[in-house]
């Protein structure tokens, strides 16, 4: 069994359950793979091999001493975690110098639920600083390289998690998605990524960026694997007042690919000038494939789409400016040596935060400041209502909405670093989902002429992750794109 790291989650769990392999063996095979490809990819900020082997040994011990039916669902399965989710006693940097030595005293609920289900933690993955970015180039630590072409970015902000799964360094990774930070890197790296409904998954222990938009999401190679993890992390958490008390369905994905009766909307506003030809071509082909499986394809309109970008960048930065006010060098994080209180605050923040984080704090502070609040933040919140209504009206007629994930495939490292607005435009197709709070699922549907993956997005009504997973599962049962792996 030389290629353990190519296994799907379900295959790996089956082999573990049958006793064909031990968790230590699976974990070691991923650690070996990391040792081989991580020097080129740089997906992890912190690796936790000792912790992983210790957890794997406990998992094997538990399996040995208990009957199968008493064992937790994911016992012995290795995963990676984006370095914005807290894991007790393991450094959590958020990709920022200001948290370089921060050791969380608690564990995020999503991570804890997976630990309770028996997983093994391989390490904490690279991210744009405080999850602010679309390329992972804003990390204060390193630039992650796209496994398909290392001169290109993996997308962001969860680029480390996406690259780790794409490169076979982990079968599953957790990420976070405030404006596309799971779906866009999933698309750039040729894997499958889910942003659940806002309120579906606890954010306790997720270091906050834009609180009305943040969701914890999942990366894997297939919808089928995502469903296994989603079932474990979804559901009400008393520690997060925004998590909703709505039952999580057991997601049963079978071998039926007949989509007769399903209506998929295609919004004309998402096929615009500026979108790469290869992206449009592959997404249109995938939409035809859904039609060939029996789905009815309906042209729809989401008329306020063009406003999503400015609305997002005013609301997210306003919320960020408030959330990041907590970094003052008093309770945790980098503290400047200045001896007066205000100077210490200003210098701790001025030196501790990187350029994009300061830019967003400045923009958000401006949008909230006296004299500009109504014109910027207030108006953005009203237009957000219109964007939300677009989706509500569309979902009266369709079960899901199909779009590209991003207007381009993975761009080159350094291509957008001097032009923030061009970088922000990479998110235009993913931002509306966060503004409306609906779920979105990204999955690979082909390659461009450079051999870079193209991703498609399906969006669904609130709390209908199951519909999206079923549709993408049907697509993946009848196509091969999700099985392609980069040559490393």
């Amino acid at each position: 069994m030389s290629n353990l790291s190519d296994l799907s989650v379900r295959q790996a769990l089956k082999l573990l359950q049958n006793g064909d392999i031990s968790s230590v063996e699976v974990t070691q095979s991923y650690l070996d793979r990391i040792q081989t490809v991580e020097p080129q990819i740089k997906a992890f900020i912190t690796l936790t091999p000792e912790l992983a082997i210790a957890q794997a040994k406990s998992a094997d011990q538990l399996r040995k001493n208990n009957p199968l039916e008493d064992l937790p669902a994911l016992l012995g399965l290795p995963i990676a975690v984006k370095d914005v989710l807290a894991l007790q006693n393991v450094r959590c940097t958020c990709g920022s110098r200001i948290l370089e030595n921060f050791i969380p005293p608690y564990t995020a609920t999503t991570v804890q639920r997976l630990l309770d289900a028996g997983v093994v933690i391989l390490g904490k993955t690279n991210t744009d600083e405080f999850a602010m970015g679309s390329s992972t180039e804003n990390s204060a630590y390193q630039t992650t390289h796209n496994p398909w072409n290392q001169a290109h970015v993996p997308g962001g902000s969860s680029g480390g998690s996406a690259a780790a799964v794409s490169a076979g360094m982990a079968p599953i990774a957790l990420g976070s998605d405030t404006g596309g930070s799971v779906r866009q890197p999933a698309s750039f790296c040729g894997i499958t990524g889910l942003k659940p409904t806002y309120g579906r998954v606890s954010r306790f222990g997720l270091i906050a960026y834009g609180s009305s938009l943040d969701s914890v999401g999942i990366f894997s190679r297939s919808a089928k694997d995502l469903a296994v993890i989603f079932e474990q992390i979804a559901g009400r958490d008393p520690k997060d007042a925004t998590s909703m008390d709505i039952p999580v369905p057991g997601i049963h994905l079978n071998s039926n690919t007949d989509l007769t009766g399903v209506r998929i909307g295609v919004p004309k506003e998402y096929f615009i000038t500026g979108i790469q030809t290869d992206v449009e071509k592959n997404v249109r082909t995938a939409i035809q494939h859904f039609e060939s499986l029996g789905a009815q394809i309906v042209e729809i309109s989401l008329p306020h789409t063009e406003y999503a970008l400015p609305v997002y960048y005013l609301i997210a930065t306003a919320e960020a400016s408030a959330n990041l006010a907590r970094f003052d060098g008093v309770r945790y994080g980098y503290s400047a040596e200045e001896t007066s209180l205000w100077e210490r605050f200003k210098h701790s923040r001025g030196r501790g935060f990187g350029s994009e984080v300061k830019r967003r704090i400045m923009l958000g502070t401006y949008a909230l400041s006296a004299g500009y609040y109504d014109a910027y933040y207030g108006q953005a919140q009203k237009v957000r209502t219109l964007i939300k209504r677009d989706f509500e009206q569309a979902f009266e007629h369709v079960d899901a909405i199909a779009t590209p994930v991003a207007p381009t495939t993975a761009f080159k490292i350094g291509e957008h670093t001097n032009d923030p607005l061009a970088m922000y435009l990479e998110d235009i197709f993913t931002l509306p989902t966060n503004l409306a709070g609906v779920p979105g699922l990204a999955f690979p549907v082909g390659f461009d002429h450079q051999g870079l993956p193209v991703g498609m997005q399906l969006m669904g009504p609130h709390f209908k992750e199951e519909t999206l997973l079923k549709l993408v599962h049907a697509y993946q049962l009848s196509t091969q794109w999700h099985k392609s792996m980069p040559d490393l």
Partner: protein, 98 residues
């Protein structure tokens, strides 16, 4: 929409960010262009449209008021850059007996 350096300094003061002269100029240019782009929102008629602060239905979230084991003082202070006698230590806030 062109911000002045004075406006950039005012925002930086509100945000408690120490910025270099180079950063101030860079943010002046970049924020000006982002705000110019955002100005398209002024064209949307939102006369009777309510704002959305959260997509969730409005509701109160309550829990039983039960005493639980808190984090220990050592744990709470484990990341403190400066501490003294089990407290976070900060520079003097008010001087001259104010």
């Amino acid at each position: 929409m062109q911000l002045t350096i004075q406006e950039v300094e005012h925002i930086a003061e509100l945000a408690k960010l120490d910025l270099s002269d180079e950063e101030k100029e860079q943010y002046r240019e970049q924020l000006s262009s982002i705000l110019a782009y955002a100005a398209m929102l002024q064209n949307v008629d939102t006369g009777d449209i309510p704002p959305t602060a959260s997509v969730l239905p409005e509701r109160s979230v309550l829990r039983e008021d039960v005493v639980q084991e808190p984090l220990s003082p050592e744990t709470v202070l484990q990341n403190a850059p400066h501490q003294k006698e089990q407290q976070f230590k900060v520079p003097i806030v008010m001087e001259n007996g104010q």
